[in-house]
């Protein structure tokens, strides 16, 4: 096994919000070890230049340093784009919330990504290790297709070089709180990707990856019909909501999973035999239960009615009983909720597909 470190193709000393960053992973005559890609660096948050955070500045604590990267695109030299996730931190937040309760955040893989159980403690993260040392190291494993593989990826037989492109989110996407202003500074230094390879065994075995497709739409009525088409055979759909006025607002957490009081959800699609399927969910309990199943929840989660009642910790979705081909058809979603044209909400839908490489 070999351990590798690479830097962005356009390497800089400091990276700032909205910067686009490209990485190229080359591992000729080797295999990329499954799910071994990490992004590491140091993040420094300042109220203004040279003034560290005191309080009232936070990021989504369940995401930690995942908040920094708003989009991920993964491409193979051999076969082009494999995955393009927009609003990546939102999906990561949904996954964290659906798969972990607060106590589960006391573990090293989350600690290394600066993830904590509560937004209240984030200001202690930003103040760092010492008064003059508040550039905080992080190492996170992005939830992208090459970190969701069933086996090792052969350079020679599958992918050739792997290209990863990411965008650092804007200030208002990453941070929120009373003290956040346009003068607040986020600096990322020593940004790099760490990955592992194993020797090429020249076996060309099938390899599957979980690939996400993200769709964002606006709802401004209490009974909304949404039709979505993604170029994939999907196994599940998970969605969360956000009040339009809360998007990229420094006052609100951009990745809060808000609850627009959804009371009924119905999905429509044609199955593999072209039979019309209608899947109604008639109660909030049923909606939440199916959402957790769509996010592969394992019995622990942070979805509490007490949180949903204050517009946090809600989502909807379905894990399909069999794969649904959405390449030549749309999936219909009918949502009955408390949304009005005075309170328009975004719905962020993430379709999960399993792709053979």
């Amino acid at each position: 096994m070999s351990y590798h470190t690479i830097f962005p193709t356009a390497q800089k000393a400091t990276y700032s919000p909205t910067n686009n960053i490209d990485f190229k992973l080359t591992f000729e005559n080797k295999k990329l070890k499954a799910n071994s890609i990490r992004v590491s660096g140091k993040v420094q948050v300042e109220l203004t230049t040279g003034v560290p955070i005191a309080d009232q500045v936070a990021w989504d604590s369940l995401n930690g340093s995942h908040n920094l990267f708003s989009e991920w695109t993964t491409s193979f030299e051999s076969s082009g784009i494999q995955e393009n996730i927009t609003d990546y931190p939102r999906y990561h937040k949904m996954k964290m919330e659906a798969q972990n309760c607060q106590e589960d955040f006391q573990k090293s893989s989350f600690a290394s990504a600066l993830q904590t159980p509560s937004n209240a403690g984030v200001e202690n993260v930003f103040t760092g290790m010492a008064a003059a040392d508040y550039a905080i190291p992080f190492s996170l494993k992005p939830n992208i297709c090459v970190n969701n593989m069933s086996g090792d990826l052969s350079f020679n037989k599958k992918s050739r070089s792997v290209y990863l492109q990411t965008r650092i989110g804007s200030l208002a996407e990453i941070l929120f709180g009373q003290e956040v202003t346009s003068n607040t500074i986020i600096n990322i230094t020593e940004l790099q990707i760490n990955y592992e390879t194993v020797p090429e065994d020249n076996k060309d075995e099938p390899l599957s990856m979980v690939v996400l497709h993200s769709v964002k739409q606006v709802i401004n009525t209490s009974s909304a019909n949404i039709n979505s088409k993604v170029p994939a055979v999907v196994v599940g759909m998970s969605a969360s909501f956000q009040l339009v006025t809360h998007e990229k607002s420094m006052e609100y957490n951009n990745y809060a999973t808000e609850d627009p009081n959804v009371s009924r959800l119905q999905l429509f699609w044609n199955d593999m035999n072209n039979n019309y399927i209608s899947f109604p969910l008639e109660s909030r309990e049923e909606i939440l239960l199916n959402y957790l199943e769509s996010m592969n929840s394992r019995g622990h989660n942070d979805m509490l009615w007490s949180k949903a009642s204050i517009d946090l910790g809600f989502g909807c979705g379905v894990k399909f009983p069999e794969p649904v081909d959405l390449r030549n058809q749309t999936m219909g979603v009918q949502i009955e909720s408390g949304i009005t044209n005075a309170t328009p909400h975004y719905i962020y839908m993430y379709f999960q597909s399993i792709v053979q490489v």
Binding site: F110, T116, M129, Y134
Partner: protein
């Protein structure tokens, strides 16, 4: 399917020899299942009723070394057993540490979140008393201690005639418990071994080669370093030469930080202290293991450890050398508060037979540091070969 049936008989074996420095438990040559448990692991202390075992190693903090012998043949061993137990306790889940190991191993790990702050777990750690009938006693799964037991289902009396477990107890009592004052006159209890006998006469004695992973250690001495003074060490570690090492963990054991001079509720020495500007590069068989500088940040160190040894049950900040503010993240004077800046192990995979193993280690401490040790804990591949003439144990 139930494990316990008429073909299984459980024995409680008392110590054949016991004093405050060592205990020995001997087994008759029968067919034993390998799920050995060490019970009644504990101690009494004269005149006190409020001490608790060290947070990370629990009742095993008293065990310096533990050996598994067949006659004079060493089958497996764990030197500095308390350090291994501390490391492995941290590898359990938060739930397991809160609900199981707090009772069995008497560790003090596992956390909960109250009012948005991380705090200690819901049940208090057990108290050591001056009375053998009331003092806290622990229970240790020896399959987690001896890789030899983990590698086998049954230990046949036809092959192993004189099995014995030898325990050497620690005498540095001041380092065994969370509290620092008044730790003298500790008396170890007589441990018991609980073993299950396989009464099925049709079961066959295994033959052939059986691989197993044994934990071995080596140490490097680190000099005392003054505050903000760069320190650099490049040296060879010879303890793993000609051995196949799967994974390695490295602890920075600082007895001065962890011993009697420290305040109460410290982690004592069964932990690994992080350092400012720490960097580790490992050279395996003349090749650098890590590209670029090496493991040059606390986050990379923790992430690599998680990737190769599994998640550690530590809150954020435990791996930082210090924390400017923590009042909003931890409850003051709770276990996670004591842990900040005190739990940071290196961990990585080697997966190679070592002919030359070197380390380059740098740090610039943020406070004066006394001399300390880097403790290398490696998983070494061994092979037990059983034939009609007996058995041989060898490094692969």
């Amino acid at each position: 399917m139930s494990f316990y049936n008429s073909q299984v008989k459980t024995h409680v074996v008392e110590s054949h020899y016991h004093d405050n420095t060592r205990s020995e438990i001997r087994l008759e040559p029968r067919n034993w299942f390998s799920n050995w448990r060490l019970a009644n692991v504990g101690a009494t202390m004269a005149g006190i009723n409020d001490k608790r075992w060290a947070m990370t190693s629990g009742c095993c903090s008293g065990i310096r070394n533990i050996y598994l012998y067949d006659g004079n043949q060493l089958l497996d061993q764990k030197q500095e057993c308390h350090q291994h137990v501390a490391f492995n306790s941290l590898r359990q889940t938060n739930d397991y540490n809160q609900d199981v190991d707090k009772e069995l191993l008497q560790t003090h790990l596992g956390y909960q979140v109250l009012d948005d702050k991380i705090t200690g777990s819901h049940s208090p750690a057990k108290i050591i008393t001056n009375d053998a009938t009331t003092t806290s006693t622990g229970w240790v799964n020896l399959r987690n201690v001896f890789g030899f037991l983990k590698g086998m289902n049954t230990i046949s009396g036809q092959t192993f005639h004189n099995l014995r477990v030898l325990i050497e107890w620690r005498q540095d009592f001041i380092n065994l418990m969370q509290e620092s004052a008044g730790l003298t006159g500790l008396t170890y209890l007589k441990p018991q071994l609980i073993v299950d006998e396989n009464l099925n006469t049709n079961s066959k004695t295994p033959t052939g080669s059986i691989p197993y992973w044994s934990n071995e250690i080596d140490r490097l001495e680190i000099d005392a370093v003054a505050i903000n003074t760069p320190y650099s060490l490049k040296t060879r570690v010879n303890g793993f030469n000609n051995k196949f090492v799967r994974r390695m963990a490295i602890a920075n054991v600082n007895a001065t930080l962890g011993n009697a001079t420290a305040a109460a509720n410290t982690l004592k020495i069964d932990t690994s202290y992080p350092e400012k500007l720490e960097n580790l590069q490992v050279i395996v068989n003349n090749n650098r293991l890590f590209e670029y500088k090496g493991i040059d940040s606390q986050a990379k160190k923790l992430a690599l450890l998680s990737d190769h040894w599994g998640d550690m049950n530590v809150p954020l900040g435990a791996d930082w050398y210090a924390m400017t503010n923590s009042a909003e993240i931890y409850n003051a004077n709770s276990v996670p508060d004591y842990m900040k800046g005190k739990l940071s192990y290196y961990g990585f995979s080697v997966n190679d037979k070592l002919s030359n193993f070197e380390v380059e280690y740098d740090k610039t401490p943020h406070a004066n540091r006394a001399a300390c040790q880097l403790l290398f804990m490696g998983e070494v591949l061994k092979e037990l070969t059983i034939s009609n003439n007996g058995y041989v144990i060898s490094n692969v």
